[in-house]
Symmetry: C2
Subunit: 630 residues, 2 copies
């Protein structure tokens, strides 16, 4: 047993003895967090079956991970470390924050290893770890931008130079690597750096936080793994400096806002700081009620990559950075852990299936930084960005998916997300439990859940009934349960026996969604949604229809059909739409009464999931479709 | 007769002998322009009667002009000239382009003097002219930013430092001053500077245009007044450098784009350059069909003060700089002169009554730089801006209004805009003609036009029938004319006798306007319009109604009423609107079907003309109102 497996002082829960204690720790390790309710089941305890996410997780492992490392090598991101040790004699390349890109890739590779032994990934990661660790200074500091003459200027411009942001990503990679492998080489490097930060930051020392939050949640997680309370305290110090407690709204850079909120949620889980929790609730409500896209994306403005005013949610000019959807998911996953409110799981699901997944191509090698909700042919995916934060963030998030599905609390087990999978784990009292999901979710809403405790035991199974699902039913061993409600976790408390089966049926008719009319950009328009998936019209599926002129009737009929050959297999939605023609067509403004003179022509159109667009060459795309008045 | 009254070589029209030949020249002096059709009747020949514009012109003369000069003095804009001559020992103040602000004020003051003898304005203007002219260098150059060490760096950064832009405004002020007064002190200063530019710019000399167009139209006008063809050629050189001939669309900075287009139209009027005319038509159509606000405002983006992509016309985040509406009007006035197509007069009217006039408060002392079409309480008028281009531009434009109303062509006389006024002028053959308009326009569409030639004569009277007017009628001495069509000039060709009366009736029912649905920001919404005026809902008139939640029915009834006490007297429009309440109200996205569960509440609401908003303290405002589906 290594030094990191020791129990924390305040850890009052019984220690579960397993052969790999490091692997007991989930995506975030909150089993001992006093103000947390649900703790994630670790990735290693979840086996994904053939299905929606496995396809993507495998593409990420076999294509995305190596392709992105090749890009990082090509652009000098790894060499930036090698030159520190003389392993490579090259100039430093890329912006000042490139270290964080490599760290995110490393975290992704480590998360891959947590679920799948993959010799190639392991070898590549080991090599990179060796280069990174070798570059660390004797005093623990590590940043490839601040070297040479700049080595004496560490922390000179924390507001803009991302030093602690990079450190945070190192810590997250190190924790993930330790949890996946039990190896401590990178974790030791991280703690040396964290100790250096503890020595240099705090009251009476450097009293400044990084302009780009991220280190806060990383420090809490490092504390959770090492038990070193100084790390938690330093996280709290940074959160206080940013005055999170006083927040009345979300504002400014979307990713930073979601990261600091995630960090605050982590810190609350450990400390129970009531003011922090209140601020979290206020900020969360501000986002959910007025500042999030229907895709779960955040960030309305290109300027400053910022969230906008309430209800400022432009579609074509949306920023909705992929990183912001990821950060939104991370934050909501932490909020969900705090109290198990389904609204956080709903937001996580919305972000994952839409605004996050749109950020990556089907083959996991081309990326979106910006995720607009309408496009008139001018925007495409790229294999690389000068600021490549999003691709590396996608890679670590896809690898993390198995860790989002299941959780445990004192009273039982929780299923947050649905997909073919096996959970082989235990309740918090140590009793072994396996759960098997069989489903075609999100294409179909029927989920068969086999519940197999090692022996009969009383506990609660919590099933998230998504807020989008107006008609959900639950049967246990063929008997229907009562009181199933959308937007809540449905609790089944019983003496579970091996062989018990739950049939969850989330009916997913096609819905036309509308927005609060204060969202000026969505007025008079509807978005097609089916289950958790937001749909769009893409021109490649509708070559004969004038996409930008189409209107849809609220009485439109829909036909959903799984097309296995389309963008890796998606359910398409066929419907009808109309377009006006006639004399007023070319008038920018005209009397409404004159509109009726125009003729309309009907078109059969096909919608695809929003996440799947921009996989087939340049195209036009639209999520929000004008509603016809007929 | 001074040196500037000489006829130009190419001037083939008969010279009209009047006692003040300088005063024969209208806002733009195109009487001798070979490729121009209509030439403006000069300001001095038009007397505004009590009515819509006179109120504003008088407020401008008595309040705006002195208030703005006081601001220019307070902020050192005039002192910047005085320090050049040692009259004041102060540091230079303000941005590098402040000279242009003073020049625009001077042009405004000169235009005031063209219509009204005003000793105070004359004295103030004479004083400023003296300070400006004294600051001119012996070689003719004049710019208060490039002095001292910078004097050797003239034209070092034409792309960004507005030197020729400032020169252009000096030229325009000088021409206006000469036309108003016959005095040549400022005009001599302008020609000395223009001669210096001719010496320094051109093929084989400095081959670069200013980053901010403006000087092009100023040089053409200076040519029109002085007959010096070098000025016209230099304008053509600058237009060629900017490759206007090849334009396929408008793009970039809205004001600059409209100014260069205005300059190109001026240059075409003199040269008949067919490629230039083609480019003008292409660019105009691009604006009119996809890039202009319903207010006549231009500029969708705060970033770069730029026009956007086609149909990119956000409302709350509109830029629609006051200067851009002015520039749009100037450009269209020039296009109108070229061929007399009513669409240009319609655009001029739209811009003047809406997007331009919104830029100034009722008392002409507070200003908008940005003119949004929706506001949620955070935006107010200011008495001054660090970049104060808009207020000074408003001042010169209000003073110019009388010069926009009437024009003459070879075949007769044109009325472009309607308001109580007398034109005492002559036809192009020299025969005296007076026209009197009696009307309450734009509050009422009835216009009584008394036509009084000095003796019976054959000519055409051209009346603009606005495109907004579906029902217009014309009677001549009580007999109705046939063939009156919206969006055209109606021509009455007859032997006119003293005492003839034309009754024009432009019916102006309230119309709900909609936009081309490719304007995503206006989808499912309507704007209230009556006559040339776009209306808005302002919270100060509707304290009990939840402005942002209102919807209006396409069957709504309207009651128009003149309220003499409201914002200087406006016609208000009363109507009904509904707002939803109910459980879905606080959900950002929800199924359309669920919407019907909500209850609606009806409100009586009052709309005011858009130009009149923001005169009564902080408020919310909205032009585009969602259409209810009921």
């Amino acid at each position: 047993m290594n030094g990191y497996a020791r129990q924390r002082e305040h850890d009052k829960m019984p220690t579960i003895k397993t052969k790999n204690q490091h692997a007991d720790q989930g995506l975030i390790y909150t089993a001992a967090s006093p103000y947390n309710k649900i703790t994630p089941v670790p990735i290693g305890a979840v086996t994904m079956g053939e299905g929606f996410w496995k396809t993507r997780i495998e593409a990420n492992r076999t294509k995305g991970i190596p392709a992105l490392l090749a890009q990082l090598e090509e652009h000098g991101t790894v060499d930036n470390f090698r030159r520190m040790t003389g392993r490579k004699d090259v100039d430093r390349q890329g912006p000042f924050f490139t270290d964080s890109d490599l760290y995110k890739w490393m975290e992704g590779a480590a998360l891959v290893l947590a679920s799948t032994p993959d010799a190639k990934v392991k070898q590549a990661l080991d090599g990179v770890i060796d280069d990174v660790v070798a570059a660390q200074r004797p005093d623990g500091y590590l940043n490839t931008f601040f070297e040479g003459a700049l080595d004496n200027e560490r922390f000179r411009n924390l507001g803009h130079e991302h030093e602690l942001y990079c450190a945070g990503h190192l810590f997250q990679a190190a924790v993930a690597h330790y949890r996946a492998t039990g190896e401590t080489k990178l974790l030791d490097c991280a703690t040396r750096f964290a100790d250096y930060l503890v020595k240099n930051f705090g009251p009476g020392k450097i009293e400044q936080a990084d302009g780009h939050p991220e280190i806060e949640m990383a420090l809490v997680e490092l504390y959770r793994t090492t038990g070193k309370r100084e790390y938690l305290n330093l996280a709290g110090f940074f959160i206080s400096l940013q005055n999170f407690h006083a927040r009345q709204k979300i504002g400014g850079h979307a990713v930073r806002e979601a990261y600091i909120s995630a960090g605050a949620a982590d810190y609350y889980a450990e400390t129970g700081d009531a003011k922090l929790r209140k601020a979290l609730d206020i900020v969360w409500k501000d986002v959910a009620s007025s500042k999030v896209y229907i895709t779960g994306g955040l960030g309305s403005r290109h300027a400053g990559e910022a969230v906008g005013d309430p209800f400022e949610l432009p579609n074509e000019r949306a920023y909705a950075e992929t990183c912001a959807a990821i950060a939104n998911g991370m934050w909501n996953f932490r909020m969900l852990g705090l109290d198990g409110a389904a609204r956080y799981g709903d937001m996580l699901e919305r972000a994952l299936y839409n605004g996050f997944l749109s950020g990556v191509s089907q083959d996991t090698t081309h990326w979106f930084y910006v995720n607009p909700l309408a496009c008139w042919g001018t925007y495409q995916r790229e294999p690389w960005f000068g600021c490549t934060c999003c691709p590396t963030n996608v890679v670590r998030t896809l690898a993390a998916i198995p860790g989002y599905l299941y959780g445990t609390s004192k009273d039982g087990v929780w299923i947050h997300l649905y997909d073919n999978s096996n959970m082989d784990w235990h309740l918090q009292d140590g009793k072994k439990l396996s759960i098997e999901q069989k489903t075609r979710y999100p294409w179909d809403g029927r989920i068969r859940i086999a519940v197999n405790p090692e022996s009969e035991s009383d506990f609660e199974l919590h099933l998230r009934i998504p807020e989008w699902c107006g008609k959900a039913s639950v049967e246990v061993n063929g008997s229907e349960c009562k009181g199933v409600k959308a937007g809540e976790y449905f609790e089944i408390k019983r003496a579970w026996k091996p062989g018990d089966v739950v049939e969850l049926h989330l009916k997913m008719p096609v819905e036309l969604m509308e927005a609060d009319q204060r969202v000026a950009d969505d007025r008079g328009q509807v978005a097609i949604q089916r289950g958790p998936l937001v749909y769009c019209l893409e021109s490649v599926d509708n070559p004969d229809a004038p996409l930008r002129d189409l209107r849809i009737s609220e009485k439109a009929g829909f036909k959903s059909e799984f097309k296995p050959e389309l963008v890796g297999g998606v359910v398409t939605i066929a419907t009808e739409a109309e377009a006006r023609s006639g004399s007023k067509r070319n008038s920018l403004y005209h009397p409404l009464s004159g509109d009726k003179d125009g003729k309309t022509r009907d078109y059969k159109v096909t919608a695809i999931p929003y996440f799947a667009w921009a996989n087939r060459g340049p195209s036009e795309m639209e999520v929000w479709i004008p509603l016809s008045r007929s």
